[in-house]
């Protein structure tokens, strides 16, 4: 199913955040702040995850009139399973470790 992804440290950081509250919908700006990734890095990762079939997206109407709608993201069931495996593999090979929880 989908494409085989080259999983970079940045991708792993995004997967980690998406798995934090796996059933919740996440916003792009919040993900960017949590992972400290710029929009120019974050969105290509999200685009690749979506293209690979791991990511679900939806549009959410803005609460304030006149503002554009917001795009929300979460991993689907297959995506979550795959993400956990990738994170485990990356941690065991010491390629990546989760960021310490901010106080």
């Amino acid at each position: 199913m989908g494409l085989r992804l080259r999983v970079s440290r940045q991708t792993l950081a995004v997967l980690d955040r998406l798995l934090d509250q796996p059933t919740h919908w996440h916003y792009g700006y919040a993900l960017s702040q949590q992972t400290e990734l710029a929009s120019g890095t974050l969105y290509p990762i999200l685009m690749r995850l979506e293209k690979a079939g791991w990511l679900q997206t939806k549009w959410e109407e803005a609460p304030v009139a006149g503002r554009p709608p917001r795009h929300c993201y979460r991993l689907n069931a297959n995506g979550r399973e795959w993400a956990r495996e990738e994170l485990r593999a990356a941690q065991s090979s010491k390629f990546w470790k989760p960021a310490p929880e901010k106080a």
Partner: protein, 563 residues
């Protein structure tokens, strides 16, 4: 709070507007991601963070545009990325077989070939030959720029080079003056440029001739230039309505002109003859070497505008002197007569010894012959048989040399021309063919792209022909460009040898004829010769044959649609 913090910020407003614009032109396929980036901007409190967010969004936009462009390049010409909208059924339009990328790569190879130094030179040479080597306004601008740079750097020799190659008389004189002001050793330029062959009037003024006389008082050429300036109005006066010259009247008029006689007399008595050919070639080489990209039209002007003495005036004066000598001998003043004839043969000998152009050597031999005939008449009239026999022997020698040199010159010219004829024809033909192909390909590309944007319903044999041209035209253009450059190689080699000073005088003549032959093979002159007419007819017939065959092939090859 967020709205109040950022609302008045110019930075924030610029970031949002830029992002909105990017989304409005975002490639359709990934536009939702642009909208997603824009949607988050309402949540960003800090203007700087908004700018940083928008900058990232802009990078995303550029990636999307690049991806769309690459996808577009992978499709054949005339197909859009949103190609699924186009009908792909049996009645849909035909498209070329190869992608835009393949077409672009081949065309880029052609452009690269023609932008290489030799390609540029070949294109400029052929283009100049089509204009009959008449320098264009662009050539004049190049020379002006060259002169301005030389003026700034006090480069007298480059200014002298511009003076020799500039096509307009007044400007050429100005540059000659500037060159001479910086380096008086370049005064010879005043006597070196005289270009009746190009329809230019570059006769030096009296003031410049005066300077030339004080610069090189022992040179016959200086006085011949002066006499030529003096005698020119008399030639024009005696030129008939139909272009015929009243020679007898001209001789009489010239003989009456004391200034002309004085200069001719000084020329005959001058210790040396030098038409500054060597200095001129040296300066031309030097200038061309420094500016190899200069238009061949400018080089041709410089090459063809070298000064030659007026054969008509020299012969007229020689005849006058021989006549005076015979009169002196008849009046028992043999010593004076011999001295006068000695002046005539002396100038002839100096011209032969100067080793310049064949024209001057033949002119020198002509003077020798006239003088010796004078001696012969005098010695025979006085019964000095032994001296008369010596003169007859010398006359025979002169006649033999004249025949040999005329024959050698004509044979050499014929040989060079024969060698150049095929080369020039191939070069000119491939240039014309390349130009026609490039135009046809350009128009075909344009037509296919416009028909895609405007969604024209086009089909039939015309569309098939255009698709075929877009598929195979670039390769054909690459081949003709290669043949074009290949056939220019020997000419480029002659140019290079000239610039590096490896060419001897006969080879310089080859360069001269190289230009002439290229000019003769140019489209403007093309139909003049029966040989060319047959060639053109053959090319046309081959063209029709190729068209018929291609048409037949394409009817099958493009019958099935590209889906």
């Amino acid at each position: 709070v967020i709205v109040a913090k950022r609302g008045s910020s110019l930075l924030y407003r610029v970031a949002v507007r830029s992002m909105r614009w990017a989304v409005s032109v975002w490639p359709e396929r990934s536009r939702e991601w642009g909208t997603a980036v824009l949607g988050e901007m309402g949540e960003i409190a800090e203007p700087r963070a908004a700018v940083s967010w928008a900058a990232g969004g802009f990078m995303l936009f550029l990636r999307a545009v690049l991806a769309q462009f690459l996808e577009w390049m992978k499709l054949p010409v005339g197909r859009r990325v949103s190609g699924s909208e186009l009908p792909s059924a049996e009645d849909g339009p035909q498209f070329p077989k190869y992608s835009r990328l393949a077409t672009a790569v081949v065309l880029l190879a052609v452009v690269t070939l023609l932008f290489l130094p030799m390609g540029r030179q070949a294109a400029r040479t052929v283009e100049a030959s089509w204009r009959g080597y008449a320098p264009s306004s662009g050539d004049r601008q190049d020379l002006e720029a060259l002169a301005a740079k030389a003026e700034k750097e006090n480069d007298s020799r480059m200014l002298g080079f511009v003076a020799l190659t500039y096509p307009d008389d007044e400007r050429a004189k100005h540059f000659a003056d500037r060159a001479v002001a910086l380096d008086p050793n370049l005064l010879w330029i005043y006597g070196s440029r005289y270009s009746y062959c190009c329809g230019l009037d570059t006769r030096p003024t009296a003031e410049r001739v005066k300077k030339l006389k004080s610069y090189d008082p022992e040179n016959a050429m200086v006085y011949l230039v002066n006499a030529t300036v003096e005698g020119e109005p008399l030639i024009e006066k005696n030129m008939g309505v139909k272009g015929g010259l009243a020679r007898e009247q001209l001789r009489e008029d010239l003989a009456k002109d004391s200034e002309w006689r004085r200069n001719m007399d000084a020329a005959l008595r001058a210790p040396k003859y030098d038409n500054y050919y060597q200095q001129r070639q040296e300066l031309m080489r030097e200038g061309w070497k420094k500016t190899p990209d200069l238009s061949p039209a400018a080089i041709a002007t410089g090459l063809w505008s070298f000064s030659l003495p007026s054969a008509l005036q020299i012969q007229a004066y020689a005849e006058l002197r021989v006549k005076q000598a015979l009169q002196a001998a008849a009046g028992a003043n043999v010593r004076d007569a011999e001295s006068m004839l000695g002046d005539v043969t002396g100038l002839g000998q100096k011209m032969i010894a100067s080793r310049t152009a064949p024209f001057e050597q033949l002119l020198g031999l002509g003077l020798m012959k006239r003088g010796l005939e004078g001696y012969k008449k005098i010695y025979e009239a006085q019964g000095r048989t032994s001296e008369a026999n010596d003169v007859v022997a010398q006359l025979r020698e002169v006649e033999t040399k004249t025949k040999e040199r005329t024959h050698a010159y004509l044979a050499r010219r014929e040989g060079i021309e024969r060698g150049l004829r095929r080369k020039a024809l191939v070069l000119e033909l491939t240039a014309i063919l390349s130009l026609l192909l490039a135009t046809a390909i350009g128009l075909s590309l344009l037509w296919l792209e416009i028909s895609a944007v405007r969604e024209w319903k086009s089909g039939g044999w015309r569309r098939r022909a255009v698709c075929g041209l877009v598929d195979y035209g670039p390769t054909a253009l690459l081949l003709t460009s290669l043949v074009f450059l290949w056939s220019f190689r020997p000419i480029a080699a002659v140019f290079e040898q000239y610039r590096s000073g490896e060419l001897g005088q006969p080879k310089v003549l080859a360069l001269f004829w190289e230009f002439c032959r290229l000019g003769a093979a140019s489209p403007a002159q093309f139909l003049g010769e029966p040989y060319h007419q047959w060639l053109l007819a053959t090319v046309l017939l081959v063209g029709i044959l190729v068209f018929v065959v291609l048409h037949g092939l394409m009817s099958h090859g493009y019958g099935t649609k590209n889906t």
